[in-house]
Structure formats: C-alpha cells, structure tokens
C-alpha cells in the first residue's frame, strides 16, 4: 500500500474538520432560526392575548355580534354533540357492563358511567368536537377575511377588528362550550340508560337517581370550571391563527388546520392540569 505523505494527511484531516465545523454551524443557524420563530410567535400570541383581554373590558362591547356568535356556535355543533353524547354514554355502558357483572357490581353501573361522563368524557369529547368544528371555522373565516383585506379595511376605518371579530368570538366560545358540555353530559346519561336497557330493564327515573347519587359537588364543579378554559383556548387559538394568517388562499387552509391541531392539544393539556389541580384539592 502506498503511504500518504504527512503533509497531505494533515491537509486531509483539516478538510474533514472544516466540513464538520461547517455542518455544525449550519445546524446551529437552523436551530437558532427555529427558536427565533417560536419565540416571535409566542410574543405575537401574548400581544394578541393582551390586546383581546383589554378590548373585552371596553365600554363599546359588540353585544349583537356576540349573541350572533353564541347562536352560531350552538347551532353549528348541536347535532354533532347530540350524537356524540348519546353514543359515548351508550358505548361506555355496553363496554363496562360485562366487567361489572363479573364482579357482581352491576348496580354501580349508572354511577360509574355518570361519573366518567361528567368528570372526563363529556367535557373532553365536547371540547375536542368544538376544537374541530368551531376552531377550524374561526381560523378559516378570519383567515379569509385577512387574505381578502377585510380585516385591514376594518383597521383603517377605525372600527377595531379585535373588538368586533375576536372578543365576540372568544367570549362566545368561552360561554357556549360549558353549556354544550352540560347538554352533552345529560345526553350521555340518557345514552347510558338506553345502553343499560339493551340487556336489562331499568326505568329512567331509577337509573338517573342512582347516577346522581354517586356524584358530589367536587365531581361536578372542577370539571365544569375547566370547560370555560377549554372554550377560551379554542376561541383564542382559532382567532389568533385566522387573524395572523399570511397572504394567499393557502394560508387560510393552514390557519384552519393549525387552529384545530393546537386547540385540540391545548384541550388535552388543560385537562391534564385541571386533573392535577383537582387531585390536590
């Protein structure tokens, strides 16, 4: 084998080191840019949150638009939530019944199902459905308004788009989602009763009385409070993504998509935090 001269060897080594340094610096630049992007997005969101909160306490509250948004949210999601609520109760009952029969604890079925629905299933399922339906709707609607310069038109005509478009939507979502959760809970228990009647015979009054007897204030209250946070998160993220959409029709789709993804993720995170706090109480 031919021996490489020490000078060429050193040059080759230097070349290798140089390549590694270039690769490393490129990666560092890439990571820094990503971190910068994330931080500037976080700063923008904080500013948006601050401005919206400030405008929410303004004297010129847009009541008409707020009620229109409340109606829209309820009207849009009611059929979907009705079906989901009933099916969740039904499935939960059908799935739990055999295990409870094995342990001779079938009498606990109404209480167990009601507890699961009120504490977890009702709020989380409703919030996830709303994140998909309302969050994407807000993202797409505001996104298309941004792209077609309608938000700019409001801004330049001094009509405050944050107050009219964002505050009303965020508050409507914050108020309507807890109401929808209560509705979904009730339908879940109804579905559970229907499920219990597939292989048994129990009156609704008896089933409902048994279900309620297992639930105390601390089962219901924290679960209900967290739904306000779900609503606020869905409203804020949907509006923020739409309001800050870029130019071009592609960005409308992107805004709607990321509104759903982020608000769904936030619902799960808020739920986790709420469970931890409830556990400490």
């Amino acid at each position: 084998m031919k021996k490489i001269s020490p000078v060429i060897g050193k040059i080759l080594k230097l070349e290798v080191v140089k390549k590694h340094v270039i690769k490393l610096s490129e990666k560092t630049i890439e990571k820094t840019q990503k971190a910068n992007l994330f931080l500037s997005e976080l700063a923008d969101f904080t500013l948006f949150l601050t401005r919206t909160t400030k405008e929410a306490f303004s004297l010129d509250f847009e009541f008409k638009e707020f009620f229109r948004q409340c109606f829209k949210i309820g009207n849009k999601t009611l059929p979907l939530i009705s079906i989901t609520g009933i099916i969740v109760g039904l499935v939960l009952t059908i799935q739990s019944r055999p295990a409870l029969v094995d342990f001779g604890a079938v009498f606990m079925l109404p209480g167990m199902v009601a507890l699961s629905i009120i504490r977890e299933m009702g709020p989380v399922f409703t919030a996830l459905i709303c994140a998909g339906k309302i969050g994407s709707g807000m993202g797409a609607e505001l996104g298309s308004m941004k792209v077609s310069e309608q938000i700019d038109a409001m801004e330049v005509s001094s009509t405050n788009p944050i107050r009219f478009l964002v505050v009303t939507r965020v508050l409507a979502a914050t108020l309507m989602i807890p109401i929808l959760v209560l509705y979904a809970d009730a339908l879940g228990i109804l579905g559970s009763w229907a499920g219990a009647n597939i292989k048994g015979d129990v009156t609704f009054v008896l089933f409902f009385t048994q279900a309620i007897s297992y639930i105390n204030f601390m089962d219901f209250f924290p679960a209900f409070i967290k739904t306000f946070f779900f609503g606020a998160a869905i409203g804020f993220v949907g509006c923020y993504k739409g309001y800050t959409a870029g130019s071009g029709t592609e960005s409308v789709g992107k805004a709607a998509n990321s509104a759903v993804v982020i608000s769904s993720l936030l619902v799960i995170v808020i739920d986790l935090i709420a469970v931890q706090i409830t556990d400490m109480l």
Binding site: M145, Q150, E155, S157, S158, T159
Partner: protein, 262 residues
Amino acid sequence: MMNMVKAETVAPDNTKKSEPVIEIDNLSKGFENEEVLKNLSLKLFTGENLVVLGKSGSGKSVLIQCIVRLLNPDQGTIKVLGENVNKLNRKDLAELRKKIGFLFQSGALYDSMTIKQNLEFPLKRIKKNLTRKEINEKVEEVLENVGLADTLNKMPSQLSGGMRKRASLARTIVVDPMIMLYDEPTTGLDPVTSDEISSLINYVQEKYKTSSIIITHDIECARATANRVIMLQDGEVYMEGNLKEFENSTDALIRSFFKKQK
C-alpha cells in the same frame, strides 16, 4: 352610469398649492433583504388628486399602507393633517384614521354583511350620535351617489366587480373622510367600468372636497383623475409633474410606460 350623479371625466383642479395634508419625508421600507421604498419624499396638497404611477412591485401600495400605518416604515416621517403617524398611540391613530378613506384593490367588502350593513358598519361606530333615521338616509344617499341604490339588501357576492368597487367606495365615503387613498381602483375592470370609477373619483373629490392619492398603473385612470403625477421606479420618485409633462417626456422609461398603454 345608471342613477349616478353625473361627474366630470377630467379632474377638477382644486389645488391652489395650499396646505399639504400629507407630508412624507425620506420614507424607507423594506421586507427581509429587499428595500421597497428608498428615501421617498412627497406632499399631497388640499383638494388635489395625486396619481402615483409605477410598474408592479415599485412600492406604490406599500406607500399608502405606510400612510395609514398598516405597515410601519423603517425610516422617515409621515405627517397626515399635521400629525406624525408613526408617533401616534393606538387611540390617536384611530382618531386620525377616521379622517382617511382607503379603497382597497380588492374592494374588501365584508362578505357576511349586506351592502347596507357594510355601509352602516363604519358609520355606526364612527358617528355614534346619528339616529337610526339619519343612518338610513345617509346610507341611501351615498349609495344613490355611486349608482347602487337598488343593491341595498344584496350580498357582495351578488354584485359584479365594478359594482363591488363602487359599493366599497360608498362605504369609504359614507363617513365623510378628508383624505382618500385609492389602491389600484380600476384594476381588473373593463374599460367602461374603469371610466365610471374614474368619474366617481372626480365626483368624490368635487362633492366631498377630498384630497386623494390614487395608486394606479392605468394611464386612462391617471388621465381622467390626475392633478399631479408622480412616477415611482424601484422605490424612488422617478419623475414628478403634471400629465402633459409626462406625455411629452422623452425619457425612455416614461415613454415606454405611456406608449404601451395607448
């Protein structure tokens, strides 16, 4: 034009080199690595129609977006009605914007509202002391003036491109602005509708005593509306003068611009 009030197709010369309503000094604006406006200075005088000509990408739209602070300039000062736009807080900026009308290239009508609601929307929020009756009268009067009296309860999607532009102009003038900024008012319209819009611009100047900046690359629109013309090239003022001076110019760029659109 249907019911519209007849307007001159040549801009009335209301300018007596009076007070400037907009003063721009050394304005620069860039995006990432590209500088769109470079040390641009201009003045808009009371009652005049200033046409800003230029190729696409020459920074015309960026200029008027900086005037209403939809974009923040990198450098330079913009004074509108004596107030430095960049130093105003949100509240004062909103007050100043009430005196400025902005016609967007796309019209930017609120597509979830009827034409009547589109006009009522700024009117109710800016002129809060108006009664229901006064609001209705004002909306009807302005729509009548732009020839759209019969579209009161129509949705923007039911209107043609030219009608949407006119409705958008009606929404802008309904609050009686002192300054009008037109962003490509005739783009995408047929020659007949373009002429109608140009006449409307003159009509607005005459009736509402507005001072206007008209951003365009449509020479016919410039011919019909201009009291004074500025040509932008690569973010800088390339030439300034009246339309005659532009038409008689021997400069290759100006000649090619005017020749191509003859």
